[in-house]
Symmetry: C2
Subunit: 146 residues, 2 copies
């Protein structure tokens, strides 16, 4: 990553998104590493642990990834014994994906680590600056009604 980019790039949103995201990964990646998962896997654990039981496809839709991508993601999480597939009794085409006890502990530990990493990442903005930034980002990401 470039440390001091030229002016022609410093105002380009695409460049700024890419590099800000890369800096976030620099902080959050090592924070989650001790738990043996990365950010995408943590996001899967989070939606599975959030509330109602989900099928693979339902989880994929929530995360905005393809259902074929979800197959590999669940394969890996199952290999790590963090989730289990169960055929749905109501609709035997569906795989209900459940957190294991180990998965729940991992979600909790890695989630806390990632939250702390995000706070460190946002630190340069100050407390109110960080809150305003996240709110703006939620609007731009379409995660919040206008």
């Amino acid at each position: 990553m470039t440390d001091s980019p030229p002016d022609v790039l410093a105002s380009r949103l695409g460049y700024l998104f890419k590099h800000a995201h890369a800096r976030l990964l620099d902080v959050a990646g090592p924070a989650m590493a001790p738990f043996g998962i990365d950010g995408r896997e943590l996001a899967v654990l989070a939606v599975l642990g959030a509330g109602a039981p989900l099928s693979q496809q339902e989880a994929a839709e929530l995360l905005g990834v393809d259902r074929t991508t979800m197959v590999a993601l669940v394969d890996e999480l199952e290999r790590k014994e963090l989730v289990e597939r169960h055929r749905s009794a109501a609709d035997r085409r569906k795989n209900i994906v459940r957190l294991t006890e180990k998965g729940r502990r991992c979600l909790e530990g890695a989630g806390d680590a990632r939250d702390a990493a995000e706070r460190r990442f946002l630190e340069p903005l100050g407390e109110s600056g960080a809150a305003g930034f996240v709110a703006a980002l939620q609007i731009l990401a379409g995660a919040r009604p206008l």
Copy 2:
């Protein structure tokens, strides 16, 4: 892209960066398409058009891409007749990459189109909100001293 993501995701910076960036591409991609280039190619034209003549490696460092990636990028821009390679007389290992007249016109037109697209993207934040957001993003991307 998910339209209304669940709460467990709406506060995650990685998710927000990914989806905000995707929304930006939705707006900026079509805006640049009439000029036959994408955002990465426009970024190359921009650093080449900014000031001093650059070698491939120097341009690659400014953009934060690998020098092997730059080879393919310059190949494509040369095929479109937007840039020209010239062996440096001072150091014959180096390729100085220069904008052609066509490249300069493309930089100007596509640059304006992209600027307008970015303004539309930021519109929901209001004028001062947008300025604050970009300033914060520059800090987080390391594009601006703290």
